[in-house]
Symmetry: C2
Subunit: 212 residues, 2 copies
Amino acid sequence: MTGIPDAPGAPRRRGRPARTETGGGPGARERILTAARAEFAEHGYDKASIRGIARAAGVDPALVHHYFGPKEKIFAAAVEQAVAPAFSAPAAVTEGPPEGAGERLARFVLGVWEDPVTREPLLAIVRSAVANEIAAGVFRDLITSRVLVGVAAELGGPDAQLRAELAAAQLVGVAMLRHIIKIEPLASADIEQVVAMAAPAVQRHLMGTGAD
Amino acid sequence: MTGIPDAPGAPRRRGRPARTETGGGPGARERILTAARAEFAEHGYDKASIRGIARAAGVDPALVHHYFGPKEKIFAAAVEQAVAPAFSAPAAVTEGPPEGAGERLARFVLGVWEDPVTREPLLAIVRSAVANEIAAGVFRDLITSRVLVGVAAELGGPDAQLRAELAAAQLVGVAMLRHIIKIEPLASADIEQVVAMAAPAVQRHLMGTGAD
């Protein structure tokens, strides 16, 4: 459904349903992704179906397949969209003096979780990834290639990738306990206090042993 | 089904099915809990049913209800059993010199996740808790009352509970990325290296700012 739209009344091409009867048109791709996220969140990766996603998006299942291919590919696209705000994490590490890298990374990552607009898609994806191995693999590959490798490249030094992952673990753990398990007082604590408490641990991981 | 077993041929008491036809007997409670964990892990909290748990345990649904009551209570018992190995976390903090508390806690908590015997039940519970608010509440209450409050009491000082939670977040994040999302190289790293890298961050949280 990319490129020039079918002219009204144009002869139907085989295997490509006309826009009017598929529910396609402007925004269809976005609508399908939003519906996919909701479907994965509600039913889990295993039980989510292309048919269910199509129904929620108001399009024909053939159009879902046309845009994305099989279920794993739809999930990958939904993860990519949900995780996209985190793609700037490597920049957060480098965009100021090294001694502030931990605080910048903590504020950036926890900020993504603080805003409902970026949190809800992430929550949906994390729920799917925790419940299903295929979904976990999609999430893992994207986080590794688009976030962790970039952060590690900025760090350099021995065990840079492992140190980036320990830093990520601190922030993933805070997000999990604050926004998913909702343990108090962490769940209600002022975000600036949480950033201030997490930052030294993140900084230590980023800079390696002996950086304190 | 506690106390003196029904004598063979004894008159049936109303509302309490005889052991032979319910599948009760020695080990029935444990068997039900194990079946419940598997049921929650496979179907999620929402879709898990007392009937399914009873079938997997080879007992009558009435016996499941007799031992545990409604679904939320079965889940609470399954969580308690799965999380029980972590109840010794406060002791790990205090059983040696303060400067080693972070390392002891890191080794203890990550060790619970390292052993498949203690990891599998935890994984099942974490999957349910991430997917469902009621399950998250049960998990939260137990972790708070049986682990975090105890650790905070050992720490004392301002924000002790919040500091205990930041320390827990570091370890929860490591467990999540190593055992659930399986991000490399963290997933395959030697556990002693992981403990050594996590310990200073945990120590800093436990002892508060400026303890380095």
